[in-house]
Symmetry: none
Subunit: 127 residues, 4 copies
């Protein structure tokens, strides 16, 4: 499981980790039922505190993406797709991301091209 931490990134480390795992699940590089590596191993790999990774897993569990089985690790929830959020929650980050790009001077077609590219990456493992 390839994850990287960006020191310059403003988000807290645990969110970065959670978001990256979320991305891996969305793109099906991590499929339903698959076991995630132990918290301690990920922590060691990334050189961060154990608590930080534990917080990331806890976050994903709260969002319904992970099933954490005490004593035997965490697996990707079989119902991860249903971990649906309210439409508003989905729209706000989308709007902010698009507004940022428009402000940066990107044209409509440039933005759409970027969206298309990202969607391809996300969906390349989907049926």
């Amino acid at each position: 499981m390839y994850i990287t931490i960006d020191e310059e990134d403003k988000r807290p480390v645990y969110r970065q980790v959670a978001d990256e795992i979320k991305g891996l699940i969305a793109s099906r590089e991590l499929r339903e039922g698959v076991a995630l590596p132990p918290v301690r191993q990920v922590a060691a790999d990334l050189g961060v505190n154990l608590n930080t990774i534990a917080a990331a897993y806890r976050e994903l569990k709260k969002e319904g993406l992970l099933i954490v089985k005490h004593g035997s690790g965490a697996i990707v929830s079989t119902s991860s797709a249903q971990a649906v959020r309210k439409d508003a929650d989905l729209r706000k980050p989308l709007r902010a991301a698009l507004a940022q790009m428009v402000l940066a001077g990107l044209s409509r077609s440039e933005v759409l091209a970027a969206v298309d590219e990202e969607m391809r990456a996300l969906l390349k493992n989907h049926a």
Copy 2:
């Protein structure tokens, strides 16, 4: 100037306000040279402390979107477009937003429809 604060939102209030104003500038509801309402008025309208809004304005000033003239208010910078370019990766927030939607179970076409809708809203005031 219509702005709302969402208590559920995890971003700090001053960031929410800054981001909303950024959105208004991107969609040209606030155009270059236009004066923003006084800090104190916005604070009163939203029911938050003066300092919180002052922090939002300072943020936008630092990002080059606002020109604040001490004693005579703040106006939208004439170079607001270029200002954002130096801001880090435009892709990261986009990717995160799209991943979230895919995870929520939205199909490719549903996502694209949402993107299209938001882009229309953003660009409706553009030449």
Copy 3:
């Protein structure tokens, strides 16, 4: 008397004006005894409030560079040179300016070249 105001500049307008006049005196483009243009005219030329220019003149008077004769305008003080400041006051801005350049990656010789260039401009009207 050529003065320009930079809207992007962080300094208050009255300080920008005062500093520019100070530079003109230092470089002897404005010589001792010479009359400065009326506050109203400068204000009109620059398109700023009369009080702003008045504040700039007041500032320069306080620093001993100008002699303001009530009802008959202001002239450059004959003892403008003696309007000396404490050494510390002179060093702090110098140190800050140099530190900024060093941080920006300029080499020692590049910094010295810049200093030399600026000194030439300042001293070109000196005996």
Copy 4:
């Protein structure tokens, strides 16, 4: 970390602190990767409010000189040098500082000696 606040100085306290730290970084008394003292400690040492120092750190973070890791302190950015380049004109503060010295009656050689002395102090820790 030796920092002093000058009540006579017209700059706000948080700017003074930020500028002093900037100077320490430029002169490599604070090197890349080094941890800065906690906000609360600096505040206590200088006898000012916590928020004032927090503002200084936030300033330096925005300028790219500091990497602040929430919960585990702030360190000097590894790319602190490039960070400053984008900051506005390097010449304006230099010109103002030199003009001030010339006005004070310092001769060309006296000014150059002062510059030389400051440059030595700044560069004494450089390779």
